[in-house]
């Protein structure tokens, strides 16, 4: 028995992991229950930053991620968009990742077009699309948006878009929301947008678990709120739903909370694996000493 675990083929671990994720997804998907969520301070800050803005404020949503991190960041993007809609904010979508454009399209199609068809393109939201150049783009648009964005993602000249009238740079935005999977992302937004204009640009962000530790140094001065990984998404989602969800919440707005189920079981597996690894290590060492 011990020998089996000592030389455990890692494929058994893979199988355990697969089951730990697949079974909860199946069960939760079938019975449509989610675990209760207790929002912590960083998610509450994000919620308040958006919620405390007067209705109809201008919000820049920068979706800097790709399908690779959709699992973590998609629910955040959904919740951010929904929250802005409910607050009647004007949404300006941009992307610094080439594939971020598709992420914007997803949000627009899944949420705005599907559930809020009364919102009009160019008046309530605009998709400025992707621009290459990474942090260079941020540096330019903080002072001059039109230098890079002469058209929106559909090729319409920005001058012809009603909600772009009078927008010269992103200092005029009331809030910048960044959903970030890496470089360029929240760090660059902090460095090149918030740092030079600390009292003009306010930023909140949602990021992947990997990035979160790197962004803690910027909290709270440059970054008042941060959603870290699916847990942060789930906390924020629960806040948005508690206030704006109503009675019958569509399943697509509960994605993060649903996904906390497999998360929990898989975490317990990880914890079990770490303990098991150490038990094996200590037993092995004791036997080694005896010999």
């Amino acid at each position: 028995m011990f020998e089996f675990f000592r030389n455990l083929d890692r494929r058994w671990i893979f199988l355990m992991m697969f089951l730990c994720v697949a079974v909860p997804i199946f069960v939760i998907g079938k019975y449509k229950t989610t675990f209760p969520e207790k929002p912590l301070v960083l998610a509450t800050n994000v919620f308040n930053e958006i919620d405390n803005l007067p209705d109809g404020s201008k919000v820049l949503l920068a979706f800097d991620y790709d399908p690779g991190s959709e699992g973590e960041l998609g629910p955040m993007a959904t919740a951010f968009t929904l929250h802005c809609i409910k607050k009647h904010h004007k949404m300006y979508f941009i992307a610094l990742w080439p594939l971020g454009r598709q992420m914007i399209d997803n949000a627009v199609n899944r949420i705005i077009k599907a559930d809020f068809p009364h919102l009009r393109y160019g008046e309530d939201y605009v998709n400025l699309g992707f621009k290459a150049g990474n942090e260079g783009v941020i540096k330019v648009i903080v002072t001059d948006l039109r230098k890079l964005y002469t058209t929106d993602s559909r090729g319409t000249a920005t001058d012809e878009i009603p909600m772009m009238q009078g927008i010269e740079n992103i200092q005029q935005m009331d809030l910048v929301i960044n959903v970030s999977a890496g470089y360029p992302g929240t760090k660059e937004w902090v460095q090149y947008a918030v740092t030079p204009f600390p009292d003009r640009i306010r930023l909140v962000a949602g990021c992947t678990g990997v990035q979160a530790p790197l962004l803690y140094p910027y909290i709270p001065q440059q970054l008042p709120g941060l959603l870290a990984a699916i847990k942060g998404a789930s906390e924020y989602e629960s806040l948005v739903m508690a206030k704006y969800g109503g009675e019958n919440i569509s399943g697509k707005y509960l994605e993060a909370q649903r996904r906390m189920g497999p998360q929990l079981v898989a975490h317990l597996l990880m914890i079990f694996l770490i303990i098991a690894g150490n038990v094996i290590y200590f037993v092995e060492r004791r036997r080694g000493v005896r010999q």
Binding site: F14, M17, F18, G68, A132, Y216, H267, G277, N278
Partner: protein, 244 residues
Amino acid sequence: MKRTAPLLIASIAGFVMIVAYFIPKTQTWGEDVSVWFDILAAIAFILGGGNLLRVQLKKISDRRPGWGYALITLIAFVVMLACGLLKIGSHPNEQYPAFAWSGTYNQTGTPFWWMYEYLIVPLQSTIFAMLAFYVASAAFRAFRAKNVEAILLLGTAFVILLGRTAAGVFLTDFIPSDVLIENPTFLQHLVSTLRLENLTVFLMDIFNTAGNRAIMIGIALGTASVSLKILLGVDRSYLGSGED
């Protein structure tokens, strides 16, 4: 000439950028150069793509083992490239229906979009998802309490893992929290920090921040030093031999 000219170019270009950083009017040069770089990188696709084609064609023509896979790569590459560059199936921009080329290359419904949506997206996210398996096996194998360093590494990971789930919060729920206390004392803070969700934040806030700051400062110094060495011509391995 073949040898010194590139070194001169690198040095001068670099020092100009440094000087430009301080002059108000030239501070945007960095962005201009970034745009140029993107153009250059896009042009360089010809080199990379050409090499890719050459390698695959060679595999096929030599009938080397696995040449069938090379054929798959080749076909996938050529079809995707043709669909995208020629904007096959793409409708013109709604505002300019007369301009056949005015549509975007990745419009929904085009073959290019289809291949992106049903080939790249699932492949990309599944490869990424394999990490879930690898973190598990790495945790099992590498997180063993061999010495103080390893104990700290695995202990922190353990606490964070536990603290980010409902289970961890439940586990330490009996510890009094300082949130509801007005003007908590030092001891109350200390005790409250033992709650797993607070311990997570504490570790991230203090220890993680400290470690990351030092790493970032080190990286900044390292980057600056490597850059300077290249500009001074001390480190020139990137240039090759200088022979033709």
